[in-house]
Symmetry: C2
Subunit: 192 residues, 2 copies
């Protein structure tokens, strides 16, 4: 995949993912919708008439060191695994105070005090992840985070999300919405 | 100024800055033009029919530590000083190899081995600077760098640019164009 890769999330009546729930975690939520389409690239193929659309770009590593990166590369799975039928789209915006910090201060909060990267590693390879940036794009969020996991790993994923939300880093989050999804299932024909 | 602030540079026949020269430094250059308009904000007021347009956003600090930031804040002047009638717009794109490096590796090259930040500090307050990011915007460059200085500081500015171009960091630059400008002077009435 080329980097930066533009990824568009369009919530409405079309898309490969069924929306199971949309919950505001902090700040304003997002409107309800039945399905979510995920479109990679310049936006060709984004369903028209979406209730809401969010855009972000994959990018280079902003905090990760080379040692951490080697660990991540060794453990992290690709997106699109057949058994990973559950997904979470969690858009996040951080407070102005976060962005006013220097790079070393943000790194200290993110990893030395929150263990964001090393905590995430513990949940690999169960959870596949993609981080998209959108602050520079004039979008309502700073990041779009995307996770894919198998139903049997849902407990582990909730634990990961819960640990991060209690962290010092999350004290800088001013808006967060939690969108949960199931792949491919048509409305009304959910398998048990 | 709000951050991120979108800044659009439009080269053509309109704008506050007269184009003195446009030189390709590495890779493809940019088409010649008589004047350059610099438009802050969502793009309202960008002259139509420009030969080329480049867009970037001001953003948070990507490498600067808190200690370095305090030094910069204490010394750096604002844009728009009356005596700073000369400007340089230097768009830069770095090789894929740069972007594939982890954060600590890029920081080591940029500051510990190139002294990019500490070299820049030496030329303050003579040179006012603004850095805009555009890699995430799908633009042809990764950064747009903008400098304003008085005619008597032109020598110091050339020295700064020359030192950076000889650095290890610059071995990662694959495209660079150097656009030099003078504020306000109408075509054909250049003062000596």
């Amino acid at each position: 995949m080329p980097v930066p890769l533009l990824v568009t999330f369009a919530a409405g009546v079309a898309g490969d993912w069924r929306v199971d729930r949309i919950e505001p975690v902090r700040g304003a939520g997002l409107e309800g919708a039945a399905r979510l389409a995920v479109v990679e690239g310049t936006g060709v193929g984004v369903p028209t008439g979406a209730r809401w659309t969010l855009r972000g770009v994959t990018s280079h590593l902003r905090y990760t060191t080379e040692v951490e990166r080697r660990l991540l590369i060794a453990r992290q799975p690709e997106l699109g695994r057949l058994q990973a039928t559950r997904a979470a789209l969690i858009p996040i915006r951080k407070r102005e105070a976060w962005w006013m910090l220097a790079q070393d201060e943000r790194r200290a909060i993110l990893e030395e005090r929150t263990q964001h990267i090393s905590t995430g590693v513990k949940y690999l390879p169960a959870v596949a992840r993609r981080l998209m940036h959108c602050r520079d794009l004039g979008e309502p969020f700073d990041f779009l985070t995307w996770f894919e996991y198998a139903p049997e790993d849902a407990g582990a994923f909730e634990e990961l999300v819960g640990r991060l939300r209690e962290s010092e880093e999350w004290s800088y989050v001013e808006r967060e919405v939690d969108v949960r999804l199931t792949r491919g299932i048509e409305d009304g024909v959910r398998t048990p």
